[in-house]
């Protein structure tokens, strides 16, 4: 019984409203990632689930029970913090057992749990050390261990990997995914790192200004972003956006890029049938634009400005009809066009996204 249900949640700090009428249903065993830039309310939401901040309105249900006003310890949660938050004056073992001792658990049960968790996380060699004598990665393992010994139903992670260097972050990311697969518990994970979100989540909640912009599986978020914000936030380099005008013409849908070519988007999977046109934005990811157009049905002109090689991939930065654009392709193409060269890029109607220019909503 570990589903989490957030109902009409309001959180205000004085006159500032951080979360307003937020709803979120999380099923048992899910790995939900709350993704957004700083100040979007994702950590606030996590703290509200943990019971670490006061809720101004709405309900937090855990396992079907109303836990809105319950103490953190009574919510069946374990939590991992960005700053590790290990108790500095005690050893790793002391850190792991702190909560269990406070809950007056029998000593042999504490020892059994510490043994199991420290084996799982490979922190056995450091049990007698103090946190100050550990590296960042070891500290975060201990912090994860401290959450795990609680044998909670739900684990909360507040940017747990943000303080680690890139290599360690990638390692621990994989370990976290493995951990989730092993124990199968509900996990809620806050991050601003889209790679973590894409790799770990069963579903991602992209947040902005205290509102969940889209809640969907990583592939859906990536391939079918619900609005311009999500489209621009997820993906690196970001999705190309071309402003233009969409119109329906003799049974065809046509998108005319401002001061640029017209593109037949009839084969685009519209959310609702196109009735009348209007100002719109066409979005296409850099890797969905092909330098070698082949037999792809749609074409775009492109003027090269800068070329960047990133090892496996290369990116060309330039303009299409005066609007900024980028193309990503495998470095094996050995392509290094000089500044100012003109080329034609090919793409498929299935790869593109269309948004209403005013509301930003996907069409």
């Amino acid at each position: 019984m570990a589903e989490v249900s957030i109902e009409n949640l309001d959180i205000r700090f004085g006159a500032v409203s951080v979360l307003n009428d937020l709803n979120l249903q999380i099923a048992e065993g899910e790995f939900i990632v709350l993704l957004g830039s700083s100040g979007c309310g994702k950590s606030t939401l996590l703290n509200a689930i943990a019971g670490l901040i006061d809720v101004s309105g709405g309900k937090v249900r855990i396992g079907g029970e109303d836990k809105t006003d319950a103490e953190p310890k009574d919510r069946g949660i374990g939590m991992v913090f960005q700053s590790y938050a290990l108790y500095p004056q005690t050893t790793v073992e002391g850190n792991l057992s702190f909560g269990l001792r406070m809950a007056k658990m029998p000593k042999d049960e504490i020892a059994r749990r510490i043994d199991r968790v420290s084996k799982m996380l490979q922190i056995e060699p450091y049990l007698k050390r103090r946190p100050a004598a550990l590296s960042g990665g070891q500290r975060q393992r201990v912090a994860i261990g401290r959450a795990l010994v609680r044998d909670a139903d739900i684990y909360l992670f507040d940017e747990p990997l943000s303080n680690l260097d890139a290599k360690l972050r990638a390692e621990l990311r994989v370990e976290l995914k493995e951990l989730h697969q092993t124990i199968g518990k509900t996990m809620i994970y806050v991050t601003h790192d889209q790679v973590e979100a894409m790799t770990l989540a069963t579903r991602i909640a992209v947040m902005q200004n205290g509102v969940i912009q889209q809640l969907a599986a990583p592939e859906d978020i990536y391939e079918r972003p619900a609005n311009l914000f999500v489209a621009g936030f997820v993906g690196s380099p970001g999705m190309n956006f071309f402003s233009g005008h969409l119109r329906s013409e003799a049974g065809k849908a046509v998108f005319a890029i401002n001061d640029g070519p017209e593109i037949d988007v009839s084969d685009y999977a519209f959310d609702a049938p196109l009735e009348q046109g209007g100002e719109a934005v066409l979005g296409i990811r850099p890797e969905h634009l092909f330098v070698d157009a082949g037999d792809l049905p749609l074409r775009l002109p492109f003027t090269v400005k800068v070329s960047e090689s990133m090892g496996a991939d290369s990116v060309l930065w330039g303009t299409t009809a005066g609007q900024k654009a980028s193309v990503r392709f495998g470095s094996d193409l050995k392509l290094n066009p000089p500044r100012g060269s003109e080329m034609e890029l090919g793409f498929s109607p299935r790869a593109l996204s269309l948004f209403d220019a005013e509301s930003g909503v996907r069409l």
């Binding site: 953190p72 374990g78 108790y87 500095p88 909560g99 609680r150």
Partner: protein
């Protein structure tokens, strides 16, 4: 070469200034020490800067045991023990109260935290002489006037603003996640305070002990007004010895008595210089 000779010159200047300043401030202390070691006869005929011909500790013994304060001639020793009796509980209680309040304001943030903190801040700037008359009335109403408990209570109350400020600012510098982690782990108000926060507090506890013990030891006014004749602290007795108007002024006894009274804070300062400076800085850095 030129650079380094200029540097040497600057160094010399700095040291000369420091030595002169130190000498200037040490001069009165030197006079006190040499005078306390002289007999009255010698004091009358020699310069105050002259070293004693035949150093004697008689003045020190008199100051400690038999100098007269009004009608009693028991010396300062009574006051010393009175001061200890006042200082120890007042220091302990004011620090504990300040630490708990600072912890609550910093981490639990009950409603009105800002207001409470604001009031404490403002209170720290009100001259405390203003409160004396109402406090005398209040303490006598509850039967604490002229008692040890009364003077201790006064010191605890007046220590609150600075103690709360000190601890709140120190705790504001501890990571909040630590507190959150302890709450998730099941700690309540006191458990977190005793098992997590107090073990992290020694640096600020040392500073608080230094501040409060020297402050309470040096207090004259509260001791005079609230302690009652049985509990008069050393400072009050010192004043009575030095300012007694009958007979000739026993400068050697006065000097010895003054040094004896100042010895406790002086030793605390000297022994804890590094911590003391840190404490002054601690109050200033984080708001």
């Amino acid at each position: 070469m030129r650079m380094s000779s200029e540097k040497t010159l600057a160094r010399t200047g700095v040291y000369a200034f420091l030595v002169i300043s130190a000498a200037f401030f040490l001069m009165p202390f030197y006079v006190m020490v040499v005078t306390s070691l002289k007999t009255m006869d010698e004091i009358r005929v020699t310069s105050i800067f002259a070293l004693p011909d035949t150093p004697t500790l008689q003045a020190w013994v008199t100051a400690w045991q038999s100098a007269c304060t009004g009608l009693n001639c028991n010396g300062l020793s009574v006051g010393f023990f009175n001061s200890v009796m006042i200082m120890v509980p007042a220091t302990v209680f004011s620090i504990l109260l300040g630490a708990v309040t600072g912890y609550a304001l910093s981490f639990w943030r009950p409603k009105g935290t800002g207001l409470i903190f604001g009031i404490l801040l403002v209170a720290a700037f009100i001259p405390y002489q203003v409160f004396i008359y109402p406090l005398v009335r209040m303490l006598s109403q509850v039967g604490l006037y002229n008692s040890l408990a009364g003077i201790v209570a006064i010191h605890v109350i007046f220590g609150m603003p600075i103690m709360v400020l000190l601890f709140r600012n120190y705790y504001a510098g501890l990571p909040r996640d630590l507190f959150s982690a302890a709450r998730v782990d099941g700690g309540g108000f006191w458990v977190i305070f005793i098992r997590l926060i107090l073990p992290l507090s020694p640096p600020i506890l040392i500073v608080a002990v230094i501040l409060q013990s020297t402050h309470i030891w040096n207090d004259f006014l509260f001791g005079l007004v609230f302690a009652g004749s049985d509990n008069q602290p050393m400072t009050v007795l010192l004043n009575n010895i030095v300012n007694s108007t009958q007979g000739e002024k026993a400068y050697n006894v006065n000097m010895a008595a003054t040094i004896l009274t100042a010895a406790v804070p002086l030793i605390i300062y000297l022994a804890s210089g590094r911590w003391f400076v840190r404490g002054i800085a601690a109050g200033a850095v984080k708001g």
